[in-house]
């Protein structure tokens, strides 16, 4: 009935005491992900991810537009990640806190700046017509760790999406209706996946993977590493919080490498299931 006022002292104390003994409030190990469910389709480019109690929906669509004047041979990738009021009462994209804005920006940067999508392949006629790919990420349920869920949803949706086929005939481009010719997938170089860790304790010596909402509210520091299936680090993000040692970062990276492989497998299974 009342607006969110954060966790009580008892809840925080219980969480920290349990962590000191090596367990988490929901019984997971410190390096365990919550149950991850990915479902794609039926519409091309629609992916819904459920990570524990967090639910995120991603939708990819395309449109033919003019390119940017300084990039005539590249397509455009647009992002829209608003924290909707459905995810939690009091959340509103027009009055978003800095943390919420950071979440939206993080997902956007991960996909755009890691050059996951081949924008040159989106060019139809240089300087005149290119594909604009639009990714809308809708947060339906905020149960903690929105970044990981959103990155998985966005990548799954991009891989699931099919754009209309195009034939270039000299100076003319023919965009085929999807009923005439099968639509084609996007050219995706690699699949960056975010893995988030939360740190607890006065010196940040206790850490967990995939924090829940309660753990996020109690944590003293947060660290997100973005890796792809080629074992490359696409992005590291540690914005504020208490300082962490390079050893902790290293440890997190090793754990994340294993997790990203698992997540990629799940995405592949979900994509296969949707086309079956």
């Amino acid at each position: 009935m009342v607006a969110e006022i954060g966790p009580s002292n008892i809840e925080s104390a219980f969480l920290l005491e349990a962590l000191k003994r090596g367990t988490r409030v929901d019984g997971r190990g410190i390096y365990d992900y919550r149950t991850l469910k990915i479902s794609c389709g039926p519409t091309y480019g629609l992916a819904e991810v459920q990570l524990g109690q967090t639910r995120v929906l991603a939708r990819v669509s395309c449109e033919v537009t003019r390119p940017f004047p300084d990039r005539p041979t590249e397509g455009i990738v647009l992002f829209n990640t608003e924290l909707s009021s459905m995810a939690g009462f009091g959340l509103d994209s027009s009055r978003a806190s800095t943390q919420e804005v950071a979440i939206s920006r993080m997902v956007e940067r991960v996909i755009k700046q890691s050059r996951a999508i081949d924008s040159e392949a989106l060019c139809i006629l240089a300087g005149e017509k290119v594909w604009t790919i639009r990714i809308d990420v809708h947060f339906l349920d905020h149960g903690g760790n929105l970044i990981d869920a959103a990155s998985i949803a966005a990548i799954a949706a991009l891989k699931h999406f099919r754009r209309p086929d195009v034939t270039i005939d000299g100076e003319e481009a023919i965009i085929h209706d999807v009923r005439e010719r099968n639509p084609v997938p996007l050219s995706i170089h690699h699949t960056p996946i975010c893995v988030t860790f939360g740190f607890f304790g006065a010196s940040g010596d206790m850490l967990v993977l995939d924090p829940t909402l309660l753990e996020e509210q109690v944590q003293v520091s947060s660290f997100t590493i973005t890796l792809n299936s080629h074992r490359e680090i696409c992005a590291l993000n540690k914005a504020g919080g208490i300082p962490l040692s390079p050893d902790q970062i290293q440890r997190c990276t090793q754990v994340a490498l294993a997790k990203v492989d698992e997540v990629n497998e799940k995405i592949q299974l979900a994509l296969k299931a949707s086309t079956a």
Binding site: M1, V2, A3, P42, T43, L46, E48, Q53, R55, L57, R59, S61, N80, E82, S84, S85, M86, A87, G88, F89, R134, D136, H138, L140, D141, H142, G143
Partner: protein
């Protein structure tokens, strides 16, 4: 004239719904008819802001988010339409000075989006336990250029139609519709015909909703009895 998906003129698409899937929201429902899918989340009754609270009743707020792109004036229109439909059917006097917030997210749009949104909201309000006078069910009809009338049109059929009509009725009520949205070029005969077809269609939607809610309640009863 056969429809692209081989349905009969008065046949609805396959209906699907799931209740209570969201954890943070007080109530939620996902409703889909064919490829049109809507999620509705309810927060309420919650604390209203002092400047918007009403002393003797709950305030109803609706937010509608499209599947693609930022919200436009079309979505604002949908918000006010849904708010007007539900404002009088929610027993707001039982919860003065509170807010009932309805958040609707369109997942996939393939025609008849407004009726899917109304149906999803009806189910979500039941899931949230918000007291209602009645269930509200909606259906859409389209009059095609060859003068046939089809129920639950897809986006393709709507694009080709001469007029489209959405009606929402209160269950168990013999009075007129709670919500009417008619667009295009039509005669009164066509309007009346659509009215009758939608009234029949909403009865089928209501039966479907009843089965869904009964299923949920029996499941919950089993869990609490065990």
């Amino acid at each position: 004239m056969s429809r692209p998906d081989r349905r009969e003129a008065s046949q609805l698409r396959a209906l699907n719904c799931s209740l209570g899937q969201l954890n943070r929201a007080d109530g939620s429902a996902q409703f889909s008819a064919g490829n049109t899918s809507v999620v509705s989340g309810i927060y309420g009754p919650v604390e209203a802001k002092v400047y918007e609270e009403k002393l003797d009743r709950a305030v109803v707020e609706v937010k509608f988010r499209p599947d693609i792109g930022a919200p436009t004036t079309k979505d604002k229109w949908m918000e006010s339409a849904i708010r007007n439909t539900f404002e009088r059917e929610i027993l707001a006097h039982l919860h003065p000075r509170t807010l009932v917030q309805i958040v609707i997210q369109l997942r996939e749009g393939d025609g008849s989006v407004d009726s899917a949104a109304i149906n999803a909201t009806s189910l979500a309000l039941v899931d949230a336990g918000i007291p209602l006078k009645c269930m509200i069910t909606a259906a859409t009809c389209a009059v095609l250029p060859d003068d046939t009338t089809v129920v639950d049109p897809t986006q393709e059929e709507i694009d080709a139609a001469r007029s489209t009509h959405t009606f929402a009725f209160a269950s168990g009520s013999s009075t007129g519709p709670l919500y009417v949205d008619s667009r295009g070029d039509f005669t009164m005969d066509e309007y009346n015909h659509c009215y009758e077809l939608c009234a029949l269609a909403t009865e089928r939607v209501l039966a479907f909703m009843r089965t869904a809610i009964e299923g949920k309640v029996t499941k919950e009863a089993k869990i609490s009895a065990a």
